[in-house]
């Protein structure tokens, strides 16, 4: 029983690490800050959750605390990425040349024009 748990835990840990690796590759390959954030957020969330699940299999007595870490992670990870993306957009970080549309910039430009006398 415990050896089966160890095998499952090992597989989960390897899976989690693989997603973290793909996220790191994404950070290097993506062309701009927004796409990098996308790569960073999704893979670190699933990668870390899988790793936590793996550790929970290897050390069942920690499961409750690991669950707690997972919950905090699910809430704080996307939130911090969103704040970073918003800050990047506000200070005008350049978008990749492939970018096809930016509704936020259009709307902000419209509001600025409307505010002027």
């Amino acid at each position: 029983m415990s050896s089966l748990l160890a095998v499952v835990g090992g597989i989960l840990l390897v899976g989690g690490t693989a997603f973290l690796l793909f996220g790191a590759i994404g950070l290097v390959r993506m062309p701009d800050a927004y796409n990098r954030l996308q790569a960073g957020t999704k893979t670190t969330t699933l990668g870390t959750l899988l790793s936590l699940a793996g550790v929970a299999c290897l050390h069942p007595e920690w499961a409750l605390k690991l669950l707690l870490i997972g919950i905090f992670l699910l809430f704080t990870n996307p939130l911090s990425s969103q704040v970073l993306a918003r800050a990047a957009h506000r200070i005008g970080v350049k978008k990749a040349p492939q970018t096809v549309v930016d509704r936020l910039e259009e709307d902000l430009a419209e509001k600025d024009l409307g505010a002027r006398p």
């Binding site: 793909f22 796409n35 957020t41 699910l74 996307p78 990425s81 918003r86 096809v100 549309v101 936020l104």
Partner: protein
Amino acid sequence: METPVEAKVRAMARTRSTAVMFATLLLFWLMLIGNLTLDALIVGVLASLVIAVLYPNGISFFTELRATPEAFVAGLRYYGYFFKELVKSNLRLTAIVLSPSLPIRPGIVKVRTRLRSRMGRLMLANSITLTPGTLTVEMDSEWLYVHWTNVESDDIEAATGAIVAGFERYLEVIYG
């Protein structure tokens, strides 16, 4: 001017929100500390009480939650859908970063939500960030600006259908 009845309703809402905050904090504390001894309980109650009173506008998991059986079922289905989307988004991202041509067509689109509650909107923005190819950048009342790795459509209705509708369906029942 506020009528006495309105003031009473508001005071009740504030009391309820503080109580919910207190209960959430205490629950997390007990999970973290992992035992139910008297001194752990006293510290937890005191700390949770102080924080809950100091932050009457704070939001937590259970703020604005509708405590109905439908909301519970919707919550379970929401988490099922959410984890499915999370895995899908990771697989798709992996395929993108590993392909030599890096097939992306990024852009920021505008979508609209029907959700009214703060917690509902927070959960929606978070869920969008963790699902395939989308990242919430800015929120302006009912409008969300979403960065999309592969823009399928920059039309508001079509983008809303593709990005928001899946989660909104459940969150509407849970938080309103």
